[in-house]
Amino acid sequence: MTAETGLAALWLAAAMALLQLVMAGVGLRLPAERGAHILAAVRPVAIVGGLLGAVSFTCLILVFLASDMSVLLVAQNSHSAKPWLYKFAGAWGNHEGSMLLWVTVMGLAGAAIALLEKRLNERTLVATLGAQAAIALGFFAFLLAASNPFARLDIAPADGMGLNPLLQDPGLAFHPPTLYFGYVGLSVAFSFAVGALLTRDVGPAFARAMRPWVLAAWIFLTLGITAGSYWAYYELGWGGWWFWDPVENASLMPWLAATALLHSVTVLATRDGLRAWTVMLAVVAFSMSMIGTFIVRSGILTSVHAFAVDPARGTFILVLLALYIGGALALFALRVGTVKAGTTFELLSREGGLVLNNLLLSVILGVVLIGTLYPIVAQAFGVQLSVGPPFFDKAAGPVALLLVLALMAGPLVRWRRDEWDALAKRMMVPIAALALALGAVVAFAPFKSLLSSAGLVLAIGLAVASVAPLWQRNLKRTPLFTWGMVIAHFGVAVALFGMASDAAFTKERLVAATPGRPVEVGPFRVVFDGIKPVIGPNWSALEGRLTITRGDGEPFVMRPQQRFFANPPTTTSEAAIATRIDGQLYAVLGAPDTGGRWQLRLWWKPFVTFIWFGGALIALGGALSLIGRLRRERQPVVRERYA
């Protein structure tokens, strides 16, 4: 019964989306006095549609929690012996469920716009909701026609096929939904851009309405990427935190576009510049989300993160992608002439700096996009190849470091116009820090690569430069969004330091471990004590016991495992990780040989945790900024002070 309710709610939500689109279209066409009552009804329709989507998704979660094996999706992806958290998260750990999550979040976002957005011109708002409905309809059609999550089986199996053990991790409860929130947030920004183009209303008011959504999407993307990186790091057991894999790039590209958009929308909101560019970026950012979904869902590229995929579904997403992006670009081409050029600005000004930020981010985005899609193009010409870390490090790395260099100066430049010597004065301390860091790195750090050494130097320089905007300010009166900016930029420095430190200082050992014989890795002495079997809720495992000492410190124990899952039958290796203030010790147990020796792989990774701390700080900065902006918007101030 729950499944039928869910399906009915899904159909009704789709009908509401159609109604929303038609009403917005008709209402905007009619002359103002006749269309007014239709326009007024669009908001309630959006709210009801959002609620219906939520009902449908709740039903899906309920059938998963109840392990209702007569539902095809549950039978394929769940198992009654699974811990409840994974039954719950399993609802979106599959294709149909994740698509339903997508439309649900999209509907709720539409409802939130309808409920909360008071400042935007009513016609632009309705056009935005119409665009939102048009996007949602494509996904509704996809769900209802090709991937009904509530389809029943005629004969229910005794039990399900189970969830892939690699997915049986708390990460699943957190990582996909955050990324989806991010993707959907960008769809909202896209709808705003389309709405503003339709009603010829591109300006600061539109930018202020769109900004919280871009910020929110960007925060979720940052969190999702950070969480996904850590998840892959401990779950895959390779000791790596980023593989430049197509599926990872699929989440990085929208983030890059959103980062650029976040900065350009600020120029539009405060200085009424970069109008057409901001609209274009909103279109690009959502295109990247769609391309990302396409890459992940179609499985067209070889990925270490590839889950069950189906080329036919990829085609459907590709068609949607072409429709939306093609439509938006056509609209952009038609209407860009009506978007008047905004105000001009000086080369040396905050606006100029943000243009540089946007250019460099666009170059990185372009490089990542080309590198990710190149294998598809090559395949069309009959050449099988793959593009991996060497390419991305070489092509995107230097540009990213250049961006960090620009980031040191950017927040210290004034809006409107600035003087070079005044800026140089403000940059004194950061430049001194940069010089000191350069000396220290040349003297003490081992030279692994130019990229890692430059990364260390720039990370330290940026850490100092990022807090510089707070100097000589009354900290209590500093607006929250300035704090947000400082913390986010500081987070970039922290994350960069972690990445560079991991690249420069990691120590690695691969040994055939004999019980009792010690192995040295970095500052640690590791003794392999032996293997014993252990039993978990739905797995059994062989567990290695390692006793580790660091210098004269207390010994501690680490327990890497080889886990065996019964349904589906799979082996996974569970890395053991010991976190210290200055890094992580990472141990993976391999297979035994005939002589009773076990493969053991050990890494000592100094400051690797900074990568994810930095990511969390970036997201925190974004959140503070968002709260600060929302509070400021609610105050009846006519013009914002420049931050």
Binding site: L166, F307, A341, V363, V367, T570, S573
Partner: protein, 148 residues
């Protein structure tokens, strides 16, 4: 500067960025793209020492451990030819005899393959597209096993 001129400058800058990105990417691609080989491709001239990928099935009974206890040796086949592979490291969870593998690494002078990484898969039902085409008739492309 007039708004129109500034806009023109910005468009030029954006175009420069696009060309810069493409130029950067294409020049790096020339050096760094890793080509995919199936064992039967290996008879032709293989580039020694260049980063490439090799994909196929692990031959049953070929998996052995070298005397150092950490290097694994096995042969990879696509049904027509076989290539010996050595890999020092911990094999991914789904790596076993008779199942598919994509090895990253380079060819040695004697035509054997030295892997630096074996590609893990998240899903035992999943097969990389490159492998599916290297192994006609291989199982695993269709993912749904229950009827719908």
């Amino acid at each position: 500067m007039k708004p129109k001129h500034q806009r023109f400058t910005l468009v030029l800058l954006a175009l420069a960025a696009i060309f810069g990105a493409s130029g950067l990417a294409l020049s790096a691609l020339k050096d760094e793209a890793a080509f995919f080989y199936a064992p039967s491709d290996v008879t032709r001239d293989v580039p020694v020492g260049r980063a490439v990928r090799l994909g196929g099935m692990v031959v049953e009974g070929s998996l052995a451990r070298a005397a150092d206890g950490v290097t694994q040796q096995f042969r990879v086949t696509d049904g027509k030819a076989q290539v010996p592979v050595s890999f020092a490291g911990i094999a991914p969870d789904l790596f076993r005899e008779g199942s598919g593998v994509v090895a990253e690494g380079s060819f040695a002078k004697d035509g054997s393959f030295v892997a630096t990484n074996l590609l893990a898969k998240h899903d035992e039902r999943y097969m990389p597209p490159q492998m599916a085409s290297a192994m006609p008739g291989a199982p695993g492309r269709k993912t749904e096993t229950l009827e719908r």
